[in-house]
Symmetry: C2
Subunit: 798 residues, 2 copies
Amino acid sequence: MANITKKVSWSSRDDDLAQGEGTALLNGATGAARYTRQFSGGSIFRIGRLSTVDLEEEITTEEEAILSRPKEIPHNEKLLSLKYESLDYDNSENQLFLEEEKRMSYMGFRCLEINRWVVCGLIGFLTGLIACFIDIVVENLAGVKYQLVKQNIEKFTEVGGLSISLILWALLNSVFVMVGSVIVAFFEPIAAGSGIPQIKCYLNGVKIPRVVRLKTLVVKVCGVICSVVGGLAVGKEGPMIHSGAVVAAGVSQGRSTSLKRDFKIFEYFRRDTEKRDFVSAGAAAGVSAAFGAPVGGVLFSLEEGASFWNQMLTWRIFFASMMSTFTLNFFLSIYHKKPGDLSNPGLINFGRFESDSVAYNLYEIPIFIAMGALGGVLGALFNVLNYWLTIFRIRYIHRPCLQVMEAMLVAAVTATVSFAMIYFSNDCQPLVQDQAEEYPLQLFCADGEYNSMASAFFNTPERSVRSLFHNTPGSYNPLTLGMFTLSYFFLACWTYGLTVSAGVFIPSLLIGAAWGRLFGILLATITSSGSIWADPGKYALIGAAAQLGGIVRMTLSLTVIMVEATGNVTYGLPIMLVLMTAKIVGDYFVEGLYDIHIKLQSVPFLHWEAPATSHSLTAREVMSSPVTSFNRIEKVGTIVDVLSNTSTNHNGFPVVNEYIDNTEPGKLCGLILRSQLIVLLKHKVFVERARSCLNQRKLQLKDFRDAYPRFPPIQSIHVSQDERECMMDLTEFMNPTPYTVPQETSLPRVFKLFRALGLRHLVVVDNENRAVGLVTRKDLARYHLGKHGLEELQLAQT
Amino acid sequence: MANITKKVSWSSRDDDLAQGEGTALLNGATGAARYTRQFSGGSIFRIGRLSTVDLEEEITTEEEAILSRPKEIPHNEKLLSLKYESLDYDNSENQLFLEEEKRMSYMGFRCLEINRWVVCGLIGFLTGLIACFIDIVVENLAGVKYQLVKQNIEKFTEVGGLSISLILWALLNSVFVMVGSVIVAFFEPIAAGSGIPQIKCYLNGVKIPRVVRLKTLVVKVCGVICSVVGGLAVGKEGPMIHSGAVVAAGVSQGRSTSLKRDFKIFEYFRRDTEKRDFVSAGAAAGVSAAFGAPVGGVLFSLEEGASFWNQMLTWRIFFASMMSTFTLNFFLSIYHKKPGDLSNPGLINFGRFESDSVAYNLYEIPIFIAMGALGGVLGALFNVLNYWLTIFRIRYIHRPCLQVMEAMLVAAVTATVSFAMIYFSNDCQPLVQDQAEEYPLQLFCADGEYNSMASAFFNTPERSVRSLFHNTPGSYNPLTLGMFTLSYFFLACWTYGLTVSAGVFIPSLLIGAAWGRLFGILLATITSSGSIWADPGKYALIGAAAQLGGIVRMTLSLTVIMVEATGNVTYGLPIMLVLMTAKIVGDYFVEGLYDIHIKLQSVPFLHWEAPATSHSLTAREVMSSPVTSFNRIEKVGTIVDVLSNTSTNHNGFPVVNEYIDNTEPGKLCGLILRSQLIVLLKHKVFVERARSCLNQRKLQLKDFRDAYPRFPPIQSIHVSQDERECMMDLTEFMNPTPYTVPQETSLPRVFKLFRALGLRHLVVVDNENRAVGLVTRKDLARYHLGKHGLEELQLAQT
């Protein structure tokens, strides 16, 4: 078994490590064929059956498949990309680090702790400000747009020729969306979408390139404003989570690499460990600002990110969340000229539900559960459709121009559909003063009435949700709701995945609220028993929860978010039940939307536990081997050569004690990272130089921090031929106590250690403490439970 | 440095390990003297200063201190007790285990997962039932008591001679409390108090003896009924958490050792890993039933327990919480003859706060923060007083009879104080129909009026809290509230720590609500600006939060609990701010109440992180060494002798490969537990027997599970002289891949590994993979940050 696995283990290379002849051949001719095999589909196999397959033969036949490659990989959720690296959540406790820690007094640690609180406060404050900015700009721009179109429609309703209004509307939408799409497609493609999948990955420990840059934030904020004002079926809530995360990554580092400003503060936090903690806080602050849900924000961060729960960290996250919702609330209250009124804790506000103690009754619970199941089914349908669409996009719409054009097309279609719906609807409702419609369209209705369909379409989605929750029974007729649900469902599904920054939370809520309200109305009609069924708003809320749960599949955090957004815990229990049902039913068909997109990106995402049936695998089979190690005192030339080898591109190297006679490998004595070696080479920390010029400055931890996180590539470092003969002493800089496991350790055990400590490299040692292999994220992420038991994903270089 | 630490390291022995001459001497004469040193106070030292102290001399002088020992240890929070063992959260992945896992199909794992959900459902259901039972019994018994006393008072108010009423009241209280105290003191002392400190310890990974037994549950439930009915200043909420935990530990094992019934179900869950997960769910279910706060329950369990956050586990905990609150609600609704009315989600119900969107205003926030600070100060005062009282009790009131007498005394005094307060109060209020008073006492008031002081005292504390929150402004006059706060503060402080089962949540809330309401009234008087200050109930709520936060120092979970109990998230932000302020201010003076009691029990409690300044310590200094190891094939006699050695009483033993020539220790190849060895000895799994009778049954994992958790002591296992010469092959049973660290690993790194994975033993190996030491919980828990930097606690056998 072990032998067989060895035979194929070249296909399990990893950017962190990827060692052995297999990968080394990737550049050569044979390598090209073998490399292709990774893409050629047929090699997804059951581990258990491996022993009976003659792999060599399989490879030979597959070499012929090289030309047909593009057709055989319509999508890539069966691959793991090697382009993603891991965050280093484990501190490298080398001598420099330990000396610094020992030098620090107790007061020093207290100051650090206070600094952490200050940073979290700043994160919350800035995230709140950004949310406030987005809210105000969107409200004003959308107001201008809707006024313009409304006046135009009113003008042409009387004189005829409403098609001009339609063109105006579609044009306005398209222009906004075009701007939003152009900046995303051409300047920062990572800012597309809600950013939640990316943040999930980041919190999971995957370094997604460019995801927490300032430029991303700017594009994201402008993009989301454009797409919401452009009338797409999107929300501005999801992007807030991404924005919060970027703010956190920026503030905590006390400098901006993009702006080339270094404020010389928070230098201690310039490493992955601290940064990731702050990014959790930022994501929580984002959720908090988006939904006015500080506790929900904390839970979101924990549910999606933290494997290791730390009380102090949780409180800081909580503090950031509070600051964020409070800041937003405060500035919005000033903007709304009611300073001190704390009733706008989030971007979306579900409005206040009646705090009636008998808001629902016991016999309604089965109905809620049924709605949850329906939400699960509809959510799964949404996800499947969006999955197909995304694959289509990956295949055919990958050029920025095409992406912009698609976005504009969707904007125009959205306007047209809305217009058609409004035009052909004859659902007239009397105008009531206290309702949420800000732009009531009279259209063909009698005076003092407004078009009910228009109130659903002719509004920002947040307002529409609120109307569906709170308008008095009878504000919408069933046909309106049905048509609205149907059209909005497909519009939202088409929209998610466009090259614009926008979220899927609000459209989901809106779809759910519409069919939920419809459900409530039908229920009231069927039973016609009055009082308790009278409020369709309640069913709108439950439907919204069901639909959202069916699409995104969060439970605990989403429950709390919904409860906080409704401002009332009465509906806590039904919302929980609904979300759980939606998740269970939905999971039966397909994964959650974010997980689908993560998989399509081939991100090596680590789940909570190793697959249940993976006890038969051990570290020996999982690890990449043999490893490239360095001696404790190593020749510079060797180091440069290893680092320059683009075919392997390793990031971590075990350090071993000198070979005794070069026949057997030495004992493991440490682990050193590529980034550390780069800094050492850059500063030319060679043994000979230290001897020759005694006053050479000793390298400090600060030098490593200054280079973080964008360490220069090895190609940019010039090493002369003389210097190549020098020696480098790694003792001081390597992590002398890397975590290790023996070769016999089972996969779940390796997984647990890796996940619990957020490791990047785990050294596998033999009985004599010699490094025989390295386990990295990709070695663990590639095992997953498929329909036929344990499956192994293939690794790909893209 | 290392040498010095070695010199004193005999004082750092541990039940799990405790190896070396130091501890071995504990039984001898010199040992006795040295042992005393552990108690003799003076040896609390700064690690940093150690090198200048001549320890040998110190020991000599301290030998004389032996007689004065009791006086020098007034309390024991500077010691760590050796009587507590760790839970084994790390699976022993031996061959038996791996074979079983490999045999299991994917469906098998699915079934297990479903079983876990079933168990959690059962836990929630039973916990809810217990809560319901307690609630109904307390309500009825207290009703009878108050009716009796009320009639009596009314009778004697007219004819004079109210002292008879006082005697009746005091007598009734004392009798109830006596019953409650007797069962606790004589039958199950662990059932005393709220049980929250014990559950915190259990979730932290400390095995507190008898804490999750059925007997404990029975005594706890009866005890809490008696003490609440007995009119003590206690609540019935805290004990629910303990009850839930016991239910969880019982249900998940599918058998009762006390009742000697084995239902042959859930056998897979018979190990510490699974059991601890279920106990988390039970504790959450308890919180949920107590406060109607399912999310709060989950957060409580996580905040207090889980170091490793697992999504699936969290959802199961959530499910148990939901089931619990739902069950309670459902049965209470039937009991109250309003089936289907879901307005009683918890034992305590804060009543519904007005869901007004401008419930508080921005400028009130500083006031809330000030109240939080006041709560912190008052909480710290409470804790300090209770700390002194507890030390007094440890010293003088340790016999059960005395404990019962103290409890009765408190009951009588409580009645007397209440009576005096009511008697001398002249705060008469008009009777209003819809207020919460169920037993309005007219006493000396005019007809149609009732005594306001009586309504605070003459009621279960839950009702009093509700009246303070909701009664119309003016129901209480300031003097009444002031007197009530003062007297109740001291009564509650005296009561906590009595030998009765009862909680401190409700008394804290009550005290806080009283002074909070007083604060609100005074504020309204001072500003006299009407409307916004008009509602003292709001201030009562904030005061309650502040006081509770100041005493127990929970933040995130308590915020959510309070929000869920008020049924309204409007007050979320102020409650958060208040709780955080209370914690920060309180922590400045003294620790939280539960932590104080945990420390006084000398429990080796692991905090979230190692002390900040402990980077200078390495595994070498921390570990216990040398270790007693076994060979892979070991003589039975050796094993029996080691296990029988009462002076060491180790629980885990590294297994090493055979010594080559007995001069150097062998390579580490596994770890075996005492419990495993005991089972092996009991079943006589000897190499010779296996050879002689070929058909001997192979030992199964089931045999280990059947013996769990009460493994027989080594003394009960008879091993004949012949058998002592046999050999035992440990290969199949040991954990072949224990986690290891090198000797140079820093303490924070060791701590992180230990805490994140919930380990019990961590083997320290040298460069050649030889076991040189073992780190256990006590080796880590004994370092803490004191006023003078890093301090080391002493270890004690008691």
